[in-house]
Amino acid sequence: MRQFDEELTALKQRILRMGALVETQVANAIKALVERDTELAKSVIVTDHQVNAYDVEIDEECIRLLALRQPTASDLRFITTAMKISTDLERMSDLAEDICERALELADEPQLKPYIDIPRMANWARTMVKEALDAFVNRNADLARKVCRDDAFVDDLTGQIFRELLSFMIEDPQTIRRAIRITFVAKYIERIGDHATNVAEMVVYLVEGKIIRHTTV
């Protein structure tokens, strides 16, 4: 195997490790919210620096490969994709952290209502993240396109959650503080889905050389 191929494989491994970490963060953030587990929420927040470190390392490695290897064709697409994917993963990690912060605030007050749609939505978003990364590993453009399509469902759920919470707030202003925080959480999850979609769109570019952003799949 050529040295360059080894470097590309190492880069891919690093993205995957970063992705696995972010997936866990998202899962734990939702678990911390639903189970009102403040210790778990705090533990997610402290892992943020690990993700940041991955983001910087991956960027540096990509820049180094661009400068020293002058990649072309699919190698070039792989490296530019890796740079963008690491940015999206880092943002997802920040959103997981935001969910945990809201979870800590919500844990101080009585529960507004049992969480039903939030975990459902979070599961979808998590699956999108996982599938986007699987699509990246296996250069699977079909799976990536599925992820892009699935985003609509997460968006719909956000709207639904908002409407439901609005009814709580209208009925009883005492719930506003909590309802707004939960609305934020829904928005964070929706953003995680958007970042997973970005990753998936980059995978289509990686495989096919086509930029599908800002188009309907």
Binding site: R2, F4, Q70, P71, T72, A73, S74, D75, L76, R77, G209
Partner: protein, 272 residues
């Protein structure tokens, strides 16, 4: 930055299709070439667009030099060489029986891999072609020599030593002198066969800048082993392998998203 508005969209089989319709300077149709019994080119068809730089890349022995040498009939000088197919230069078949190859080589100039100035003065190197064409007037010759050296971005370095031997110049200067010599006969097309392979990076960068500058007035075809060079200077890139044209298209596409697996393997260095 070059304008993309009139960029040639060249399909895989070499057909040019674009709304702004770029003008082809040279159109090659089903070109075959043989050295004796060995076939060097197989059914090459492509269009070389006016005032653009077309790069020819491919592994050694793929026929890229043979190909550009067909474009000004310089291969005619090799015993046992023959071609089939057509090379149209402004609509005229270069290989038609009534075409004078000498005249073709005046209109389609060539610069070679190794700088090959004549063992004469700098001035006489540039004046050689025009003199051969019958230009005797010393005032006009002076003007032409100056103009050609300026076009080749060499004038400022040699204007005070025009009578000195060309062989005393550095490699990069010699190569620019060869470009000036080619330009002195006022060609329309310039063929460059690995013009920078014997030069250091600084001299190479100067030649590349020069080519981009000359593009305003000349059509150029460059054969290069240096893929970064093809990526830097050319508008279209043709990839040759085993005497065949594998892929031809806008350079930006060839280097980001080639259609053919072999092209991909070659430009990413995973060849063979």
């Amino acid at each position: 930055m070059r304008s993309r508005s009139s960029f040639a969209i060249v399909t895989n089989n070499g057909c040019v299709s674009n709304m702004t319709e770029p003008i082809p300077a040279l159109e090659v149709h089903d070109l075959d070439a043989w050295y004796g019994h060995t076939q060097a080119l197989r059914k090459i068809s492509l269009a070389i667009v006016e005032q653009r730089i077309t790069a020819i890349i491919g592994p050694s022995g793929c026929g890229k030099s043979t190909f550009i040498r067909c474009l000004n009939r310089i291969n005619d000088l090799i015993g046992g060489f023959r071609v089939a197919g057509r090379v149209l230069f402004q609509g005229q078949d270069l290989y038609a029986p009534d075409v004078d190859p000498i005249e073709i080589r005046l209109r389609i100039g060539m610069v070679f891999q190794k700088p090959n100035p004549f063992p004469k003065s700098i001035y006489d190197n540039v004046a050689y072609g025009p003199r051969l064409c019958g230009l005797k007037d010393p005032v006009r010759l002076d003007l032409l020599v100056e103009e050609s050296l300026k076009k080749a971005a060499l004038w400022d370095e040699v204007k005070d030593k025009l009578r000195r031997s060309a062989l005393a110049l550095s490699g990069g200067q010699q190569q620019r002198l060869c470009i000036a010599r080619a330009l002195a006969v006022e060609p329309e097309v310039l063929l460059l066969d690995e013009p920078c392979s014997a030069l250091d990076p600084i001299a190479t960068a100067r030649i590349e800048d020069l080519l981009l500058d000359l593009k305003k007035n000349y059509t150029m075809v460059i054969v290069t082993h240096n893929m970064q060079q093809a990526a830097r200077v050319s508008d279209s890139t043709a990839f040759f392998m085993l005497g065949q044209l594998v892929e031809f298209g806008p350079t930006s596409r060839i280097f980001t998203n080639p259609l053919e697996k072999v092209t991909e393997d070659y430009i990413t260095g995973r060849f063979g």
